[in-house]
């Protein structure tokens, strides 16, 4: 074995070993002394799950199940071309746009502001960008590139006769949320992003 594998890889490999006896543990401790503490912690976790028996399954509340399912279903099966910075929102129009907002647990107004790049990119928590990338089947880089482009002047604004079409100034993500009405579920999801 080599010492070049990541901690995550080594721990998963240990977790799926057929046996977790002294020999297996010793082999891993010798091969990956740099992860010794993690391996011992995992060895303890594996003992717990073998000895204690399954946890009681509390029926999941339907709302959080549906949120998880919508997020998963919104990704769509493979074969759809991965989104890039240029076409990130092309696949999210109409109902798909609504589904994406629901999957992200944000009001549509917040998603619209992100689409039109009215948010200061550096103010958006990394956790949210990751969730965004997953929900939109894009890479984190593509999402970041998209958000870093200049703000969009929306068609609706440019055709309005009583005002000159100007790109709106960007605001911070925090300020955007402060303007929005959020449910508790949405707030909790957004708080997790900054943890």
């Amino acid at each position: 074995m080599t010492g070049e594998r990541s901690a995550e890889d080594v721990l998963y490999a240990f977790a799926v070993e057929p046996r977790h006896d002294r020999q297996t543990l010793e082999r891993y401790l010798k091969s990956y002394p740099q992860f010794a503490e993690d391996l011992l912690d995992l060895s303890h976790e594996l003992r717990l799950s073998a000895d204690l028996g399954p946890a009681d399954v509390l029926a999941e509340d339907e709302a959080s199940f549906q949120a998880a399912w919508r997020q998963y279903a919104a990704i769509g099966p493979q074969g759809a071309s991965p989104a890039s910075a240029d076409n990130l929102f092309d696949r999210f129009k109409g109902r798909a746009f609504v589904a994406l907002a629901e999957a992200l647990l944000v009001p549509r107004s917040v998603l619209a502001a992100l689409r039109d790049r009215l948010v200061v990119p550096s103010s958006i928590p990394q956790g949210f960008i990751r969730r965004f990338a997953v929900a939109a089947s894009a890479t984190v880089e593509a999402v970041q590139q998209y958000l870093a482009l200049p703000p969009v002047t929306s068609a609706a604004t440019s055709f309005r006769a009583d005002q000159k079409p100007v790109a709106q100034a960007q605001i911070t993500f925090e300020a955007l949320l402060a303007q929005s009405t959020l449910t508790e579920e949405q707030l909790a999801a957004l708080q997790k992003d900054v943890e």
């Binding site: 995550e8 002294r22 995992l42 799950s49 028996g53 399954p54 099966p77």
Partner: protein, 267 residues
């Protein structure tokens, strides 16, 4: 035959599912979708028709190339329940006084594990995430790893908040502690073969501080504290601390475990 896994081992060969998982997937592939979902709904693992979580995950992953959302929604629901079932019921075995806090931390851990598992599922649907291959090999083991990740943050927080009230280098092991260790040893203590006692011991070990818990974990796996043999894997070597430190951690741990398990060990 189900599609082979893509995750490679250290030596470059591909991981494979255990033969019983492969055989079971094969048999289930022959069923209609409705019948498959019915089988996956069985929660009693002693039922001969019970479907292992490894297989259910395999069927959910097939949604990568399939648009039948109604079918997958049901499997997805069952899989999330299986993630919960794979978590150990620590809170059931702690002392009365600690139950409320153990329950609330169990809920937090469950939510964090579900959250990370969901991330993996989504990444897998968007592309192919090889990490999910581990869950098709040994679901409970891979979930134990997710649980560990979820708990690390809590342990870090603990470390920050608990003041150091003891000194690793002081105090000698007492006779009483040595005796307790002998009884704690899984091979010498017949009591530990009793599953209920063993579960309570595990739960008590679980609440020890990390440095003490690691010493106990190595003792339970029969590692020696130290040895003159330079080839021998010892606790001192693995943890990189002095013998006395190891002994002191062990003694403090055993004192805590004895108090927690006063009923079993006698006080």
């Amino acid at each position: 035959m189900p599609e082979p896994l893509r995750k490679k081992k250290d030596d470059g060969s591909l991981y494979t599912r255990p033969p019983d998982v492969e055989a079971s997937i094969d048999a289930l592939l022959a069923l209609g979708r409705a019948a498959l979902v019915e089988r996956c709904r069985i929660t009693d693992s002693r039922n001969p028709d019970y479907v292992k979580s490894e297989c259910i995950l395999h069927f959910v992953r097939l949604s990568r190339a399939d648009n039948n959302d109604r079918h997958f929604e049901e499997l997805f629901r069952i899989l999330r329940a299986r993630v919960q079932r794979a978590l150990p019921a620590v809170e059931r075995f702690v002392e009365e006084g600690a139950k409320a806090s153990a329950q609330s931390s169990a809920v937090q851990i469950r939510d964090a594990v579900l959250f990370r598992f969901q991330e993996l599922l989504c990444l897998d649907r968007a592309g192919y995430d090889e990490r999910l291959d581990y869950f098709e090999i040994k679901f409970d083991g891979a979930i134990a790893n997710l649980r560990l990740t979820a708990r690390r943050k809590a342990w870090k927080d603990d470390k920050r908040s608990s003041p150091l009230t003891y000194d690793d280098e002081t105090s000698e092991p007492t006779k009483e502690v040595e005796d307790a260790l002998a009884r704690l040893h899984p091979l010498s203590a017949s009591k530990i073969d009793d599953p209920a006692c063993r579960s309570r011991l595990d739960a008590a070990i679980d609440s020890l501080p990390a440095d003490q818990r690691r010493v106990i974990e190595m003792l339970l796996q029969n590692f020696q504290i130290e040895s003159d043999d330079p080839e021998m894997t010892t606790i001192v070597k693995v943890l990189g601390c002095a013998e006395k430190t190891v002994r002191n951690r062990r003694d403090r741990a055993i004192a805590t475990l004895r108090a927690a398990l006063a009923e079993e060990f006698g006080s």
